[in-house]
């Protein structure tokens, strides 16, 4: 699955996007976060306060319990500060 990171989530992970093969057991947005946190210190740091990291599936805001279903892309980022 394609995973994208923005702002300080991107800086902590160390890259803007990557392709990761997720295990079958990963069904929801929260599962993706839990899986990533097992993949290295950079992910642990990025998601250390995971409640404040937002997610989008195929460019639509979603909550952490949202199923991945057939989404092609998931993005993680901090609360927005535009405008």
């Amino acid at each position: 699955m394609k995973i994208r990171y923005f702002a300080w989530v991107r800086e902590r992970v160390g890259r803007g996007e990557e392709e990761i093969a997720l295990p079958e057991t990963v069904k929801t947005v929260a599962d993706v976060v839990a899986f990533l946190k097992t993949q290295g210190a950079e992910y642990e740091t990025a998601f250390e306060n995971e409640k404040i990291v937002r997610a989008a599936l195929d460019r639509v805001h979603v909550k952490s319990d949202t199923p991945l279903a057939n989404a092609g892309e998931i993005a993680f980022f901090p609360p927005m500060t535009g405008g």
Binding site: F6, W8, T81, G82
Partner: protein
């Protein structure tokens, strides 16, 4: 209805003029221009970098704009948001709303800014004396947005 995300500056007056030209049904045009302040969210800043999520940013702005049109009898609207490097004094965002009577244009512009601040995927990193520092989201912005869910349009 239109949304633009661009690196370049915008010309608020030219946009208002273009949107109202030749129209005799528009009685009110409200514009909001947001500018980069030297007294930033993280202290005194020399510049800021505005990161965005290409694709999703346009879609979110279009969604917010459609919501404003559903709530108020708008005759037109425009949202322009810049990204990239900006320095104090630079314009960041432009919202223009048109309506027959003034209250709809005022409220819709206000609504668009509140939603844009909290739901459009843009992130500011400010250059201050400590180096680069990401701006934290403000609870007051969430509060400003939430008043639209209790107040009637």
């Amino acid at each position: 209805m239109a949304v633009r995300i661009q690196r370049e500056p915008f010309d608020a007056g030219a946009e208002i003029e273009r949107l109202t030209r030749g129209r005799t049904d528009v009685g009110a045009a409200v514009s909001f221009t947001g500018l980069c302040r030297a007294d930033g969210e993280t202290g005194t800043i020399s510049a800021m970098e505005l990161e965005h999520f290409p694709g999703m940013a346009e879609e979110e702005l279009l969604r917010i704009e459609a919501e404003a049109h559903a709530r108020w009898p708008l005759l037109g609207s425009l949202i322009v948001h810049r990204h990239g490097r900006l320095v104090p004094g630079d314009p960041i965002v432009l919202v223009v709303t048109l309506s027959a009577h003034r209250q709809a244009a005022f409220e819709a512009a206000n609504f668009l800014m509140d939603y844009l601040k909290t739901s459009a995927p843009f992130w500011k990193k400010e250059d201050n004396v400590h180096g680069g520092e990401w701006v934290a989201a403000k609870a007051s912005d969430d509060g400003a947005r939430d008043r639209w869910t209790t107040k009637s349009g």
